[in-house]
């Protein structure tokens, strides 16, 4: 578990180093995520630490999220464009992305031997 945590931190530092060295537009942890996504990593015993961190990932966004309170004045002065712009644009993006992916899975290139991974009915 200790080692798994160390691997995650080391990967992030490598990602950050690459970002600095190459002046890349992606932050270090995101670069590390893309670089680390290879099957060889399965055997490193990351699963318990990773699943613990990911299960409570929402918690980790709270400190940055509270920063919203510094922009309440903007919300007052430009209420409509801010709220409608954010809600409209975000939901449009959500729906378009999901529908393109869903349609492609259904009618696009056939997934050889693939199957739809469906959410359970609720």
């Amino acid at each position: 578990m200790l080692k798994a945590f160390l691997i995650l931190i080391a990967a992030q530092l490598v990602g950050t180093g690459l970002q600095r060295a190459g002046h890349l537009p992606l932050p270090g942890p995101v670069l590390a995520l893309l670089l680390a996504a290879r099957p060889a990593w399965r055997s490193r015993g990351l699963d318990p630490v990773a699943s613990g961190l990911l299960r409570h990932m929402g918690l980790l966004f709270v400190p940055a999220g509270v920063g919203l309170i510094d922009h309440l004045d903007l919300l007052r002065s430009q209420t409509l464009p801010l709220l409608a712009g954010l809600v409209g644009s975000t939901l449009l993006t959500l729906v378009v992305t999901a529908l393109v992916m869903e349609w492609h899975g259904k009618l696009g290139v056939r997934i050889p031997g693939g199957r739809h991974v469906r959410p359970p009915a609720r």
Binding site: L8, Q12, G15, P25, L26, P27, V30, L31, A32, L33, L34, A37, P39, R42, L46, A50, L53, L54, M57, G58, L59, L60, F61, V62, P63, A64, V66, G67, L68, I69, D70, H71, Q78, L80, P81, L82, G85, L86, G88, S89, T90, L91, L92, T93, L94, V95, T97, A98, L99, V100, M101, E102, H104, G108, V109, I111, H116, V117, R118, P119
Partner: protein
């Protein structure tokens, strides 16, 4: 309505991590009591609780944020950890590459263009529009892109987080309404529209959804970084 914290309490380094943890625990508890209702998002509840406490005690956000660093710092390793569900879904991803590419490109373009055009159409300032354009990507990228475009980085960060919360609250009901049945589509859309907070939501739904959401956070950051400038120019900014 204004009661400053006792100085010795405010100086305790465990105060703000503890408050943050407690607020989030209350959030998860409320959500569990409401049978997992998406609207009772624990991130949203925690932000409201902590925000109200800061207002009530007159604590500046900067002081809170400095104190809550131990929690904030874990975001990096958690982002790297998204590689674990992604690896588990690699075979599925290899078979969906074209769909992922098309859906991501569509999402990135729609997000930037609709953000810019909606804000302008509704009479918002140009700096608000340019801060809205990169709001779907992960917070640090959104800040950097807003800066480049001539928007306000701190506003872009807040919009990115608010958009993520919206996705966490609304994606399951809305996508169910749109008859989206594929976990890959749920995850990819949550990560593309809501970045990290969207991914944090998707990972709790299903492993495949979480994997595609994590992938979408990384790739959408890349795609938006490349496209947002040209899109802003095309939209007349």
């Amino acid at each position: 309505m204004f009661a400053p914290l006792p100085a010795d309490l405010a100086a305790c380094p465990l105060l703000w991590p503890g408050v943050t943890l407690a607020a989030y625990a209350i959030g998860t508890d409320i959500q569990a009591r409401l049978h997992g209702t998406a609207a009772a998002n624990p991130v949203l509840i925690a932000i409201l609780l902590v925000g109200a406490l800061l207002k009530a005690t007159g604590t500046p956000y900067a002081a809170y944020f400095a104190g809550a660093q131990p929690i904030h710092l874990l975001l990096g390793p958690a982002t790297v950890a998204l590689a674990v569900p992604l690896v588990a879904s690699l075979p599925l991803l290899r078979r969906s590459l074209v769909g992922v590419a098309l859906a991501l490109a569509a999402g990135a373009i729609i997000s930037a263009a609709s953000g810019l055009l909606l804000v302008r159409a509704l009479g918002g300032s140009s700096s608000l529009a340019l801060s809205m354009a990169p709001k779907a990507v992960t917070t640090p990228i959104a800040m950097a892109l807003a800066q480049d475009l001539g928007g306000l980085p701190s506003v872009a960060a807040s919009l990115a987080i608010a958009g993520g919360i919206l996705v966490a609250v609304a994606s399951r009901p809305i996508l169910t309404l749109c008859r989206v049945r594929d976990w890959r589509a749920h995850g990819l859309a949550a990560g593309t529209a809501g970045s990290g907070i969207g991914a944090a939501h998707a990972i709790r739904l299903h492993e495949t959804a979480g994997a595609f959401a994590g992938l979408a956070v990384g790739l959408n950051g890349l795609v938006t970084a490349v496209l947002v400038g040209p899109i802003a120019r095309l939209c007349g900014f």
